[in-house]
Amino acid sequence: MQGIGNGKCQICYNIGAMNDGNTLLGPKGQRQSPSTGDCAVRIEGVVREFGSVKAVDGLSLALAPGEIMGFLGTNGAGKTTTIKMIIGLLRPSAGKVSVFGGDPSDPAVRARVGYMPEVATYYPYLNARELLAFYGGICGLDAKLVKARTDELLESVGLSEAARRPLKTYSKGMLQRAGIAQALLNDPDLLVLDEPFTGLDPLARIHFRELLRSLREKGKAVFFSSHELGETELLCDRVAIMKHGHCVYQGAVKDLAGDGGSNLERLFLKTLEEAK
């Protein structure tokens, strides 16, 4: 298996080379002790408990700059909990999550992160332009910069014409596009997306896919959860599959075709079946 990403981060490469998903392994399969690296995201033996329930149990993974990673799993597998830990909304019960080497709850780290939630109605009485101006202010960005970014982003997500309509008149797909725009507002180095394809029409999906690829070309890291296996296979460099809080598979998407010609859907079903 080859290293993925821009090759700067050995840890990311190492984790890319493992396939049980829960242990840091070296290129030859030996256990790897954690060391510093310039991973966009690094998760080491993370456990997150809610009372007696372990939503995430012993997860380790890493994401390099310039890499797109798909995070798959059934409902309740621990994907959203993991995402919340990456963006600093939740703290792990055990283990460590770092983003660009720092604490994800640190505002300085979050300034480099863009996040789009799975479901958000945003503020129904604002229009898209006002929404982005508000989030720009929250990011502490200069108003002129926000205005310029707003024009650019509304154009790229196809909301220019509807920019002055209240968000309460938007369809689900349009709200999703507004969500994408707000996530990209601060020109993040890491984009974390929870079910980003939900509600997008086929054309918007194609545009969004192109947008994410262009971000990868610029060296940005993208981490997203999805149930859309087809989109994930088309877009991702690597995938991780979660089941009941455990990561049951991590691997490069381009290796899937060579693996007996299986596609991601077959791999997904096979992995979940084997994980029983």
């Binding site: 939740l90 992160v113 503020y123 009485y125 604002l126 101006a133 502490g140 974390v192």
Partner: protein, 259 residues
């Protein structure tokens, strides 16, 4: 510092946009018209005593309406963010929970103070047009009322993080209105109770926000003069400390809240 200013500015602007877009402004105008009813009745009666009585009624309405708006603003600060899940993208931005809470508080405060200023413009304007006059007690009365509204927003904000919207509105109203009307009588009421109940009433007296400290309606209407500046400063300090404690508790509640 610049970042904090931009963040607070964005949050305050959001509060005003909400006030405007959710048509709350019409409610404000309607309340203002309701306030004008007793004030406009003052002239036909002519008698000084009746005018004062109506002024007092109008001021009571100003207190009631402004409290209603303050509690509503406080309630709407964070609870809807959780319901609509907008709290997630918001907290994923480079803003600490403490700063978000304080910015939201400032937004609600600015909106509530604007409403209060609107009511006082109507009240003071009407009285002056009628040939009435206010002496030195007016600035003090205004300052204490504005401080009380700041306290009410903080009470409602903390309540919104601890209980449902309806429970918060009911409890905050009962505590603040109850203390406003009956706060000063609680100690003598406690004296007539059995020791356990007396202890409870005294505990409520010690802990609950003393809305009655801020009430200068009688002095304003009857011209009884301003309170001493040390007393005035002490009440303002009480408000500041109480607000700081409430915001500290709200910050703790927000940190501990499961997302």
């Amino acid at each position: 510092m610049k970042t904090a200013f931009r963040q607070f500015k964005a949050l305050v602007k959001l509060s005003f946009l909400e006030l405007w877009r959710r048509n709350d402004i019409f409610a404000l105008v309607l309340l203002g018209l309701a306030l004008m009813v007793p004030l406009s009745m003052a002239s036909p009666f002519g008698a000084d005593g009746a005018s004062r009585y109506l002024d007092e009624a109008a001021l009571l309405l100003v207190w009631g309406f402004s409290l209603f708006i303050a509690l509503g603003s406080g309630q709407r600060l964070l609870a809807p963010e959780f319901e609509a899940r907008t709290i997630y993208p918001l907290l994923a931005k480079p803003i600490s929970r403490g700063r978000l809470l304080f910015g939201k508080y400032l937004g609600a405060l600015a909106a509530s103070w604007s409403a209060l200023a609107f009511f006082y413009v109507l009240f003071v304007g009407s009285v002056l047009l009628r040939g009435g006059a206010f002496a030195a007690e007016l600035p003090q009365a205004l300052a204490l009322h504005f401080a009380f509204i700041a306290l009410a927003v903080a009470v409602s904000l903390l309540g919104s993080l601890l209980m449902s919207a309806s429970a918060n509105c009911a409890l905050s109203s009962i505590v603040l209105v109850g203390m406003f009307f009956f706060g000063r009588r609680l100690p003598e009421y406690a004296d007539g109770l059995n020791p356990a109940l007396a202890w409870l009433v005294k505990a409520v007296y010690a802990i609950a926000p003393h809305a009655e400290f801020f009430d200068m309606r009688q002095r304003l209407v009857h011209g009884w003069g301003a309170v001493g500046w040390p007393v005035f400063a002490a009440v303002l300090c009480y408000a500041l400390v109480y607000i700081a404690v409430l915001l500290g508790l709200a910050s703790l509640a927000l940190r501990r809240r499961r997302l």
